[in-house]
């Protein structure tokens, strides 16, 4: 059983129902109805040895813990409001580490308008962990779920992908401004943040939307970190862009007639890149190479094996 199977299993078991649950498990955020006001909520845990290393600067770890929640809000078309954190420290660890962690969390939260309103601190025998719950409100034009894509629509991503393990995964800028602009366009039909690699996350988005997709490999923006990693390891940079985790960019679909206007008016420094098209569901996921040859969709992506 791996993470994906367990999450599916948990979602079935846990899924809370009721008229005040607009969106339960299975998207970047849950959407909750509070007497007509929509609240978005997401929670993410970072574990030492999995999402950060013991030797990573504590400030960076704190930054990432908050930024992951902000990235989920951005992926849902929501703006940050409040955050809560649960910090599990190594017993006998360095007090300076805890302070650095708090400073990193506070810096990221302050910069992005998230008020940290609660927390829990414990010390245990294991590696450190930080869990952040982020709460937010839909942006104008939001929220945007994974499930709204239609055949014929444009598939796009922000930024460039792959190789974030070189360091970018700790210090990334959550794509809140980009999400705000995208939502305001009212041309975006589905969106999510890229946390487990394009190959896997596009599978999730197309499954939620019940569409297929045809992605042009040559259009997938490859990050210089992926190029460097590929050169160092003798691997393929484009495969890193397709399957490495923790890009924390946005993956989205856009109404076909609206794409040109959206792309031509895009003025943010983060690139917005068309990588393919949605197709009918029965076409599945197809990767087209530079010669026009259709190939299999890459497996992989960042999945936690549980046993």
């Amino acid at each position: 059983m791996d993470e994906l199977e367990l999450v599916d299993w948990l979602c079935e078991r846990l899924a809370g129902a009721g008229p005040d649950v607009v969106q339960g498990p299975g998207d970047d955020c849950a959407l909750l109805d509070m007497q007509g006001v929509t609240l978005a909520a997401t929670t993410d845990a970072l574990l030492e040895g999995v999402h950060f290393r013991a030797e990573d600067p504590a400030q960076d770890v704190g930054w990432k813990a908050v930024a992951c929640g902000l990235s989920d809000l951005a992926g849902m078309g929501c703006a940050p409001r409040w955050g809560l954190c649960a910090v599990g420290l190594r017993r006998g660890g360095d007090g300076d580490w805890a302070r650095g962690l708090a400073e990193g969390m506070a810096a990221c939260a302050r910069k992005h308008g998230l008020a940290l309103v609660g927390g829990d601190v414990t010390a245990g025998d294991g590696p450190a962990s930080v869990t952040v719950t982020a709460l937010g409100r839909p942006l104008p034009g939001g929220p945007v779920r994974r499930s709204g894509a239609q055949p014929g629509e444009v598939v796009a991503v922000t930024g460039a992908l792959g190789g974030s393990s070189a360091g970018r995964h700790l210090s990334f800028a959550p794509r809140l401004a980009e999400s705000e602009r995208l939502c305001a366009s009212e041309a975006v039909t589905a969106m999510m943040d890229l946390s487990d690699g394009l190959a896997l996350d596009l599978k999730r988005l197309t499954r939620a939307s019940q569409v297929g997709a045809r992605v042009e490999a040559g259009r997938v923006p490859v990050h210089p970190d992926a190029e460097a990693l590929a050169a160092r390891e003798g691997t393929d940079a484009r495969m890193h862009a397709l399957t490495d985790g923790e890009d924390f960019e946005l993956l989205l679909t856009v109404r076909a007639q609206a794409w040109d206007a959206l792309a031509s008016r895009w003025s943010l420094s983060t690139p917005l890149v068309r990588i393919g098209r949605c197709t009918e569901a029965d076409r599945g996921l197809v990767l087209v190479d530079e010669t026009g040859q259709a190939g299999d969709w890459p497996g992989g992506g960042y999945v936690h094996a549980l046993d």
Copy 2:
């Protein structure tokens, strides 16, 4: 630096401000204003080796993870609505453990009207952990903070205290019905749940309220588990009731004129017990023994030493 000092330090650093933060860090829940609708939010992490043992039944651990959040909501005079969980599994661990955990979480959530709407699952090299964020809404007469107690008011607790480590800490019933009844009385001026032991938690409540308190040792309800533990270890059962953690009962203050009516009409099976009185702040915390002799307030309580 211990947990309390670090939490103080973190609260200073992290505290989000703004008109939509009604109550930030420092109470059982944060209180947030969503366009006039109040939301209560709390997060708690359970670590293997600290809050549960590897050999504890997974269902019980799942129950406890949710019940801790519900206990915080009860302590704040709020009713549960939604929950999110972040599960950190032992890599190579038993898949049945994860399923049992989910079943325990779902059982506790279902029983108490909490819809589990999101989650995050990872596997790491360390001990397992479960973090639950619980969201709720004030009960009629709620929310009730720690800070509302006045000199002369009655100090009371629900249930009986001490010795929960024998097993009760895993399977306790969060005091939601009791909280609802207490809030409805409109006689309760301050409340919190007892998670770190009466001695420490009453210190917190009185500090938040800027009062002192005089507690009659003979009135503190001692749980049979504390008696059994004391008999086994040759320790003092009353000291267990005062300082053991994880009672998950309610600690509250009640307007003096309202106490008799509240106590005489109390019809729930969980006892409601008067243990003392609030005093002026400069009197501090005083424990009065059966002969009327005033003694020092017990130290201790469940504090995580961080180094």
